[in-house]
Structures are given as C-alpha cells and as structure tokens.
Symmetry: C2
Subunit: 322 residues, 2 copies
C-alpha cells in the first residue's frame, strides 16, 4: 500500500532546498541509488519511535517528526559523521492529511537544516511508528566509536544533563512547581526538541578517542564506552552541568542528570594533550562543554560527590516515557 501517502510526504521533500550530488536515483523506484565519494566511509543508523512508548499519543505531529529525525541525527553526531541521506518508514493508523502535512513539513525543515536528503522509504497502515534510517559520511578511519578511550583521557559532556528528564516529569505532571511558563517550556522543549550535536561531532574527529550520545542517561551510556574501551572512569557529580531547577530538586538531585535519558548531549573522551585544541575548536561552535571526570585503568565507574563515593547501584538506568 501507501504509494499515495508516501507521495504526500515526499511532496514536501521535493521542495527541499538542498540536494546532495551523491543521489543517482531518489524516491520513486524499487530502491534509491547513491554513490559514496572515494576516501569516505558510510555511517548507517536506524532508530524507531513508537506512539505511547517513546512519546505520549497526543504529541503534536511536528514534535514527533522533529524527534524522530533528531535522535537519528544525534547518532551521526556521536560518530563524527556528516548527515547525508535518510530513509523513512512511517506506519500510521489512518490517512489524516493535516497530520501528514504537519509531520512532513517539520521533517523536511529539519532535514534541510542538516543538509539531509530523503531518498526513500515506505508508508504502511498500522499503529503509529516511525523508523528513520540515516546515513552520513566520514573520512575513512575517522569515525568516532566507543572503543578508543584510554586511561588518562578526560571525560566531557556537551550542554546540560537532566533537562529532558525534568521536562518529562513536567509533561507527566509528576512535579508540581510554580515556575514562570518560559522555564517550564524550556524543559519541555529540551525533551521534545533535543538539539543534535552534529557540529560538535564533526570537530571531534581526530580529537576524541571515544564518543556516544546520551540517550539512556549518563551512567548507562558512559558505561558503554568503558565496557567497549575496556577501561574504568571516575566522575565528579559537582562538575556535571545542570540547570538550577535540577539542583534545587529535593532529595538526591543528581539522579536526574545521571540516569534520565533523552538529553541527546554527547559524552566523549579526549587525551590531555589535545585539550587546548579542543577548547579552541569548541569556541568556534559556541556549544558549552564540561569536563566531568577522567578515564582510569581497570573496570567500573567511580561516582564522587565532593570527594565522597556515591552509590549508584540502586539508580534506575532508564527514565523514558513508557
């Protein structure tokens, strides 16, 4: 089924301002045909969002479109790849032209911003589910992976952690606060419109030894780096960048930045001798980055708060909408 509906979606993409030269054959055949420039590797990822699982069913179409693409762009950022092409598998319960129009338009806008071309996909009838398969380019051998962290490297994160987790608490009405609406909106936006750190990923090529995007919470995602790189780490909670509202939460406020997902900030490791170069590069993109700890030999993670060990064993690994 679905050619007509996919047409509806692609109608908006056909007005895309940016066209990649590598597309030999786009939408409209049994498959797309693309060429990868010599000396470049192709970086491929696919992430799915399901209504009622990854977002509340009444989320506006624009927000769903944004997030479906943003979480995939974030994977490109974590790999140091330049986003290039995407395929979209969209499953929806009924043809709702207004919904599809809003969805396509927002997806198209964001794709334009990141110089991405829609080259194919599928539309099917069924429960609302969005799979985006995204493709980026990176010079051969320069992809950022999870496996290169070495003892002595410093651990950095971009932006602020815990914002999206706080946004989720607000959306779910789990937190009664009397904040100005601008602040409420800020945290909800951080949940629904995460900013993929593609520009940071690009400048980390040749600087970072390992990188990951924080989708499942700092502890869970940093642990992936440690396990893949076969190293340990110690991090200092007081160095983790958080909003004042997060720090003002009652109880152990750091549970939020340590375990809440959906921030889509980057966590990466850099050898000490490259820090000066890193800081210089970061200035050019104006993205705040903070050093939160250090890679150590061995295995496991030490979490310190003002020099005291914090027990993270009982902290829940994921805090998604579920």
């Amino acid at each position: 089924m679905g050619l007509s509906e996919f047409d509806l979606i692609t109608r908006f993409f056909n007005h895309q301002r940016v066209r990649h030269s590598g597309v030999e054959l786009g939408i409209g055949d049994d498959a797309a045909v693309v060429s990868v420039p010599s000396g470049q590797s192709l970086v491929m990822s696919m992430d799915t969002l399901v209504a009622g699982v990854h977002f509340p069913v009444d989320t506006p179409a624009e927000d769903i479109a944004y997030k479906a693409l943003a979480v995939n762009l974030s994977d490109m950022a974590a790999m140091g790849a330049e986003p290039n092409w995407l395929l979209l598998a969209l499953t929806f319960p009924e043809v709702d032209e207004a919904w599809l129009t809003a969805f396509s338009r927002r997806l198209s806008q964001l794709a334009d911003e990141y110089n991405l071309t829609l080259i194919g996909g599928d539309t099917t009838r069924g429960p609302l589910t969005i799979s985006v398969q995204i493709n980026g380019l990176v010079p051969q051998g320069q992809a950022l992976t999870r496996s290169g962290a070495q003892a002595g490297d410093l651990i950095y994160v971009t932006g602020q952690l815990g914002d999206a987790g706080l946004g989720l608490k607000l959306v779910l009405d789990e937190l009664k606060v009397e904040w100005p609406s601008a602040r409420r909106d800020y945290f909800i936006q951080r949940l629904q419109r995460p900013l993929p750190r593609v520009n940071v990923g690009l400048l980390l090529r040749g600087l970072a030894t390992a990188a990951i995007d924080i989708s499942d919470g700092l502890l869970a995602d940093l642990r992936h780096i440690l396990e893949t790189s076969k190293v340990a780490a110690s991090i200092n909670i007081e160095n983790i960048p958080v909003a004042d509202e997060v720090r003002a939460l009652t109880g152990e406020w750091w549970q939020l930045p340590l375990t809440a997902g959906d921030d889509y900030e980057l966590c990466f490791t850099v050898p000490e001798e490259k820090i000066a170069l890193l800081e210089q590069q970061l200035n050019s993109v104006n993205v705040p980055c903070h050093c939160i700890g250090r890679i150590e030999p061995g295995a496991g993670m030490k979490v310190l708060h003002n020099g005291m060990n914090v027990d993270t064993n009982n902290m829940k690994g994921f805090l998604h909408f579920d």
Copy 2:
C-alpha cells in the same frame, strides 16, 4: 530501550558464516560504518511489515522473519543489485524469548543464503512491526530502474503469477477446495515464502531496459514502468504463466494473476535484439521466464485475451491481507 533484546537477535547473527569485507564497524556502536568499493553504487531500500496488516497476527515467527527479509531482497532483485548489508528495526509487544529465537534464527538463515550481513538496527517495545533496511551494490550506472522501457521491447515475467493470491484465499478460508494437501501447501508457501529473484536481477544488468518486482499485482506494477518510462504496453493474458488451479477458478480467472499482490516475481523489459542472450543467461539460473507482451509508443495498457480487449478498469489494484 532494547539493547538486551537486540543482543538476543544479534546473538544469532554473530554466528553468520559470511562476513562482508566492507563492514568497518558492525553492531554495537551508535551506528555502523561501511565502505563501498570504488566503481560501485549503493542501492538502498526499506520495507515494513505490520502484524494484522501485512500478515495475520498468528503467523509463525519464522514466516514473518522470512517475508520481512524476502520482500526487501526482492527490491534488490528489481534493481539488479547484489544484497550486502541490512539494518533491522524490530518492534514487539513483549520479550518472548522463544519467539525472538525463532525469528532471529530464520532471519539469519535467509541472510546467510543471500550473503547479507546484519550491521545494525533498533529494537523497541510496541505493536509488532518489522522494518528492514537493505543495501546492495551495483556497478555504477548499471542499476535496473523503471524508466528505460522503449517501444518495441518485450515484456517478461519470472515464475508464475497469482500463486500468492490463491494462497491468501486459502489462508483466509475464502476458497473451499478439495486439493491434496501438497497443493494447498504449495500456494500458501508461495504467499508466505516468496522467492526473491536476486539471481535473475543480477543477470538482467545490461539486458533489461526496465524492471520492477510484482508486489501489488502485475497491472499496478507494470503501470509504474509505463508511467516512469512514458510508454504504453499491450499484454496477452493467455501468455501469463499461471498454475492450473488458478486457470480452473470460476469466473475471470485472470483477475488473480493481474491484480493479486505478494508474488514477488520480476517484471522486466528487454529489447528484441537481446532476447537470444537473455534466454541463454536464464538457462544458467533455471528460472522460468515468459514473454507476456510488448512495449508500444504512447500511454496506457491494452490487455488482450485471445485477441479481444479485456476491461481492467473495475479490477481492484491490490489484494493484500488487510
């Protein structure tokens, strides 16, 4: 979510016999990294199957896995591409280890048969939905498309048409027949285990001027070739290869081969001067192919039965499970 479940799936793929040299980084990072050999183009497609829409909800896991991959392999066949890598987005309602084991094992077997490597994907909780994103290689400029058919070309189809449509009638209990169980099974297998014609697609490079796989019925799919190539066609119903059981159906038996989907045979066009070479090539793969008509100048499709025009206007374009 889902790393643990994706692990379960990849556990089986980690025993895959065949590994592609082009995989620089497989499952287990934020994205996969692959290299495309110089002189080759990448052919990319994505198709989704939804439980209750594309297959009955009680379909065995093995059949779902088979079909999800086969329909994507069929797209590679239609492009003349050699299947290479796949990404899998699997959404399922609950972790059912037996189901996942059966699903993964069958997917892995079929991937092995076609020399495909699983390089990434996503697992999410939700209504059962399977998106496969498949990637193949083709020498630059040699992909088969829908746009090259020219007046005078002969129109061919592989295999037999209408088998899967008959299988669907049997599965849905719409047809009461007293056939030997082997014949019943044959038609149901044709529905649930379509054979992707990858080997035919490969030998059509340089021979066929246009190609498509028949997923929505011969009329609908051939029409895509005609519209994209801006040509007309006339086809002869009596030349369409069908099973005896299809021909024995009461009423206009040809509705089934003309309009039933899910056969996943190829339809392609070949210039007359290349027919001898085509026949010779086809002998090497032992796949029956039949000439069913001819491309003509103009627009539209003439359908003839023993020289008489058949009115196809009232024929339904799709006959999917729905």
